[in-house]
């Protein structure tokens, strides 16, 4: 596939992600931060996000698995996940976290367990999408092209 085509695919794919709510404007900010001095910035940040989130999700699973759930702790983890997902622009994950926090306040075990599932689900979805997107970008760069800036009109 030639570069131009790849670039178009990338643009379309990215736009879809935005429209489906997987990503929001914050992701664009990240992309804008990337420059020739930091060509891998987005990749690095996203990788960091993945590692961190997986740890958090594990912690959450463990915390909710306790006989006596410490909701404060759970809430702290969710809050953190909310922060990092919003910084990346992973909108749906962030929204799931917000709902999660509400149930934490109510100290509702069942609801929070469901929320955890929801968050995990959203997380894996966006992880998948981002990996695809970043792969596309890498291919373009490898083929000598440049990554097109998406103008979403925000």
């Amino acid at each position: 596939m030639e570069v131009g085509q790849m670039q178009r695919r990338l643009v379309d794919y990215t736009k879809t992600l935005f429209m489906e709510g997987f990503l929001d404007a914050q992701f664009l900010q990240l992309q804008q931060l990337q420059d020739e001095n930091n060509p891998d910035f987005v990749v690095e940040v996203v990788s960091l996000f993945f590692d961190d989130s997986e740890k958090l999700l594990n912690n959450l699973s463990m915390a909710l698995d306790q006989p006596n759930v410490d909701f404060k702790k759970v809430d702290a983890h969710v809050h953190q996940l909310k922060g990092s997902s919003s910084s990346i622009g992973a909108q749906r994950v962030k929204n799931a976290c917000i709902a999660f926090r509400n149930f934490c306040e109510e100290q509702n075990i069942d609801a929070t367990l469901r929320c955890l599932q929801q968050v995990k689900h959203e997380y894996y979805l966006v992880k998948n999408k981002l990996e695809t997107l970043l792969r596309l970008e890498q291919q373009i760069v490898a083929a000598g092209g440049s990554i097109p800036m998406i103008d979403m009109g925000f």
Partner: protein, 679 residues
């Protein structure tokens, strides 16, 4: 001037990270590029993104994922950063706590951020003194303008300085350059702050650097002040002439002028202590006797309260002495000026009550205003203490004069005082007891009071009703940096040097000085002022844990003891006074006292109230202000019944504000009736 300032800054700045351009002018042009930001967040994703964003803004970024590490870095390199950005929720330390620490110790602007946008959290940021609050996800646009907080803070500090009346040429010059353009002011600010931060020790440092711009300031640290007092005592107060004192002290770099101006303040302080008699010896005798030399400790802390109490007669001399002793934790036999403390306390208390009363109602706002008033008052404070007070005041002033207002409410006479004291406590509760120690007090203040933080405020703890919250702290802290108050400069309000100005700074302070504790009881503990010079050391150690300086609500609980005081006079005045004190106290050491004292005095004629509570503070102010006319006015009424003569003192003070009569203040301390001192 810029270039010289810049150079001075660069050369003295501990971190070269700051204005990278070697030339000040260049740095000025590039501003805000090179702004040194410390970002703290436990979330690695956010941290990385923020770092990148800040670098894109051309800032000099240091990132840190733990609050403890961040504090260490800040402490190691006090001048290494211009601004801090911190997350609210962190595992090892709450972001607000970090905010307080930074405000207290380093007086840097701090921006809080969080994914949490709940109103109460944002409000917490405000009350703790954050200069801004960002909601995550943070956009780069939001970061582009953070330099404004740095400039604003510096401008405020400068302004405070100037307002304090200590019109040094240097200040004026700086001010002028400040007006030139923001970049230069930023430069100056950084320079200034770097200078300010040069506390402890380098008394003559700045002198060399700033000789072109401003008069070099000697920082009267506790040690230096102690040496001074020792020399004076050795010579005998009547024979203590600057030349001989200088010789005895044998401090390299110290000039006769420094000593002379410091001596002047000291004399004022002593006079105030002695009140009517105006003889130090007399004072000593009188003061000492009742208490048995417990002044030392008491002075500070309790100084305010005790004095007030003492003044009002409610507090038996005995208890006062005891309190003092307790507060200080040491035997009162302070060698230095035992008496003055007592008197001072009284004086202060008078003042304090006044202040408080004036405020009566929590007028936080007033406090602020008042504080400003105080600051404006040129405090030639003789008594170093005043300086201390002043500092506190200054800080307090900036912060919130609220303290004053609070004070009144609480029946505590001291609320204001206390609060003010609290800040002082930080450095040294110079206010109260410190009066006598004034010289000493001031020095402690000079030191980063913040470090002691609360210790100084200890006194406030006791009674301070807590109104004085954090804001007051900030000043205190700041003052520390300001520690350069040149004691020598009578006119200058050393207090100004306190970073009081930075209101924002103050907020960050939010030292939790819980003044609220009833001052009375705690007076001893916290010790805000350690009247004796020695006390200062002790004081500093005592951390006024309790102060909730949050809004300068120093409300000494003196009320208990000295209900009397409060009633009287101008609440507003008292408020001011208190504030003044606090600031002075805290910063005590150096200038604040003078500054505050000035402020204090003007604040109120109420100085008369010097009830125990504010007495110290008032005293401080009085003392500080060499010219403070206060003396006659209010002081006279140390008696509980009519402590506050009225507004004469205030007006007197106010008038004095402009008169920075350096050496010639007629110490009108007669007005203060130290007689309240527990006899």
């Amino acid at each position: 001037m810029n270039s010289s300032i810049g150079k001075a800054y660069v050369s003295t700045a501990s971190s070269s990270a700051g204005w990278k351009a070697g030339d000040a002018a260049a740095a000025a042009d590039q501003f805000p590029a090179g702004l040194r930001v410390l970002v703290v967040d436990d979330d690695p994703t956010c941290l990385m993104i923020l770092e990148k964003m800040l670098r894109t803004c051309l800032y000099d970024v240091t990132k840190c994922n733990r609050a403890e590490t961040a504090l260490l870095m800040l402490r190691e390199n006090k001048n290494g950063f211009d601004i801090v950005i911190s997350d609210v929720h962190m595992p090892d330390m709450d972001g607000f706590k970090l905010l307080e620490h930074i405000g207290l110790e380093m007086d840097l602007p701090v921006i809080m951020m969080s994914a949490d946008d709940g109103k109460h959290v944002v409000m917490k940021g405000v009350t703790h003194g954050a200069c801004d609050y960002l909601i995550k996800p943070v956009r780069i646009e939001a970061l582009k303008n953070i330099w404004q907080h740095v400039v604003r803070k510096r401008k405020n500090e400068w302004k405070d300085f100037e307002q304090s009346g200590s019109v040094e040429e240097g200040d004026r010059q700086l001010k002028q350059s400040d007006d030139a353009d923001y970049s230069s002011s930023a430069n100056e600010g950084s320079w200034k702050s770097s200078k300010r931060r040069k506390d402890d020790g380098d008394e003559t440092d700045e002198r060399d650097d700033t000789s072109t711009l401003k008069k070099p300031r000697v920082v009267w640290s506790v040690e230096l002040h102690q040496q001074f007092v020792a020399a004076v005592n050795q010579l005998g107060i009547d024979n203590a002439v600057p030349k001989k004192i200088l010789e005895l002290m044998n401090v390299p770099g110290l000039t006769r002028e420094n000593v002379a101006s410091h001596l002047q303040k000291y004399r004022l302080y002593l006079r105030r202590l002695s009140g009517v008699s105006q003889h130090q010896s007399n004072l000593n005798n009188s003061l000492m006797s009742p208490q048995g030399a417990t002044f030392g400790p008491l002075s500070s802390l309790n100084g305010l309260d005790l004095q007030t109490l003492a003044a009002t007669g409610q507090l038996p001399a005995q208890s006062l002495a005891t309190l003092q002793a307790v507060g200080l934790g040491r035997p009162t036999g302070k060698s230095g000026i035992p008496m003055p403390l007592v008197d001072q306390r009284n004086i202060f208390s008078f003042e304090n009550p006044k202040l408080r009363i004036g405020e009566g109602q929590q007028q936080h706002v007033n406090n602020n205003k008042q504080m400003n008033l105080l600051q404006g008052i040129p405090t030639t404070m003789e008594p170093k203490q005043l300086a201390g007070l002043h500092h506190t005041m200054q800080s307090m002033g900036n912060m919130n004069m609220q303290v004053a207002s609070h004070g009144s409410q609480n029946s505590q006479n001291n609320p204001l005082l206390m609060q003010i004291v609290q800040p002082q406590a930080r450095g040294q509760m110079i206010n109260d007891s410190s009066l006598s120690h004034a010289p000493r007090l001031l020095s402690p203040m000079g030191q980063p009071i913040l470090a002691n933080g609360i210790a100084a405020n200890v006194s406030t703890k006791n009674g301070i009703q807590e109104n004085i919250r954090a804001p007051s702290y900030n000043p205190v802290l700041q003052t520390s940096s300001m520690s350069n108050f040149p004691m020598n400069h009578t006119s200058e309000l050393p207090g100004n040097s306190f970073p009081l100005g930075s209101t924002s700074g103050i907020s960050s302070l939010t030292p939790k000085v819980a003044f609220q504790e009833d001052v009375n009881s705690d007076i001893k503990g916290s010790m805000g002022f350690m009247p004796g010079y020695d006390i200062f050391n002790d004081l500093n150690q005592h951390k006024p844990q309790n102060w909730e300086l949050q809004n300068i609500g120093m409300t000494f609980d003196v009320s208990q003891h000295s209900n009397i005081l409060q009633g009287n006079h101008n609440d507003s005045q008292s408020v001011l006074v208190q504030q003044g004190f606090s600031s002075s106290q805290v910063n005590g050491q150096n200038r604040s006292a003078s500054v505050i004292s000035k402020a204090m005095f003007s604040v109120g004629d109420g100085t008369g109230h010097v009830n125990a509570q504010n007495g110290n503070q008032h005293l401080n102010t009085l003392l500080v202000d060499g010219t403070v006319r206060v003396k006659s006015e209010t002081v006279a009424d140390a008696t509980p019944t009519n402590l506050y003569p009225g507004d004469d003192l205030m007006s007197a003070l106010l008038k004095q504000q402009d008169v920075i009569a350096p050496a010639e203040h007629e110490f009108h301390f007669d007005g203060y009736s130290l007689h309240n001192i527990p006899e």
